[in-house]
């Protein structure tokens, strides 16, 4: 039953993802992405992964989407740009669509091979996830924290403002009489 809910939510996520990927407006695309992330969180809750669902809402749909919103606020959204994006989308879609359909076709035989066995699996307590992350997987967590630190420093470095160049009278002064 709960697996059924998860499958329906996953299907909705796929629909929202399609909207996110094909809409030519950045704001609309962002909202569709948000819908996809939230429906995925619903699927996680239905699968008994409460911690993952909460993280999905708090970090993905909360923090990451908020960062996207900040960037979307800085872009100018004119009709001409949207029309250009739309026409380009209409021109180039066949080959990537073929690649995507090929990927899905490769895993479709898994559906036929699955034997309908007895239901197994149970909800996983958060305690088990924490014990795994800070026990046997401690090195992985450390590496992830290195990655986050590097990303933070990199973003800080890339996002800094270049010092404004001094006014250009030294260039004229250096020329001298010629």
């Amino acid at each position: 039953m709960s697996a059924m809910v998860a499958i329906v939510a996953g299907g909705l996520a796929v629909v929202a993802a399609l909207l996110a990927v094909t809409s030519s407006d950045a704001v609309r695309s962002l909202f569709a992405l948000l819908a996809a992330l939230l429906t995925l969180a619903a699927a996680f809750f239905a699968l008994g992964a409460d911690f993952a669902g909460a993280l999905q809402i708090l970090i993905y749909a909360g923090a990451v989407a908020a960062v996207f919103v900040f960037v979307v606020m800085t872009i100018t959204n004119s009709d001409a740009l949207r029309a250009a994006e739309h026409s380009r989308l209409r021109r180039v879609w066949p080959v990537p669509a073929a690649v995507a359909i090929l990927i899905v076709l490769m895993v479709l035989p898994a559906l036929r091979g699955a034997k309908s066995s007895a239901a197994v699996g149970a909800a996983i307590p958060v305690r088990a996830v924490g014990a795994l992350l800070f026990g046997p997987w401690a090195v992985v967590v450390e590496l992830a924290s290195f990655l986050l630190l590097a990303a933070m420093l990199g973003a800080r470095h890339l996002g800094r403002r270049a010092p404004s160049p001094p006014p250009n009278e030294p260039l004229q002064g250096r020329d001298g009489p010629s």
């Binding site: 796929v14 990451v64 960062v67 996207f68 066995s117």
Partner: protein, 102 residues
């Protein structure tokens, strides 16, 4: 959860990945490509959670946490690069920087 529903969920996860890949390939605006990358990363996340729930194992969720860190780092660097590119060269199109050399 039965094997059949796990297979359904894995197919859905693959579809999400394929949709994201389609977006990355078809869009040229860097911002829209980053949004498509988020969709792409959501596919493996669903696969990890579904497999973890099927086997009753916490490793699925732990791997999801690691994946979350990857996505956060990717978004931070990607958006910083995008803003930098727009401020320095006033382009928001990934085709126009394909000639970059060191």
């Amino acid at each position: 959860m039965t094997d059949q529903s796990l297979a359904m969920l894995l197919v859905l996860a693959t579809t999400l990945f394929a949709v994201g890949l389609f977006g990355v390939l078809v869009r040229r605006g860097v911002l829209l490509q980053l949004i498509a990358l988020e969709v792409l990363l959501a596919g493996p996340a669903l696969a990890f959670i579904a497999a973890g729930a099927r086997r009753g194992d916490a490793q699925g969720q732990a791997m999801f946490v690691i994946l979350l860190v990857f996505a956060a780092a990717e978004v931070a660097i990607g958006l910083a690069l995008y803003l930098r590119l727009r401020r320095c060269a006033d382009v928001s199109d990934s085709d126009s920087v394909s000639q970059l050399r060191s």
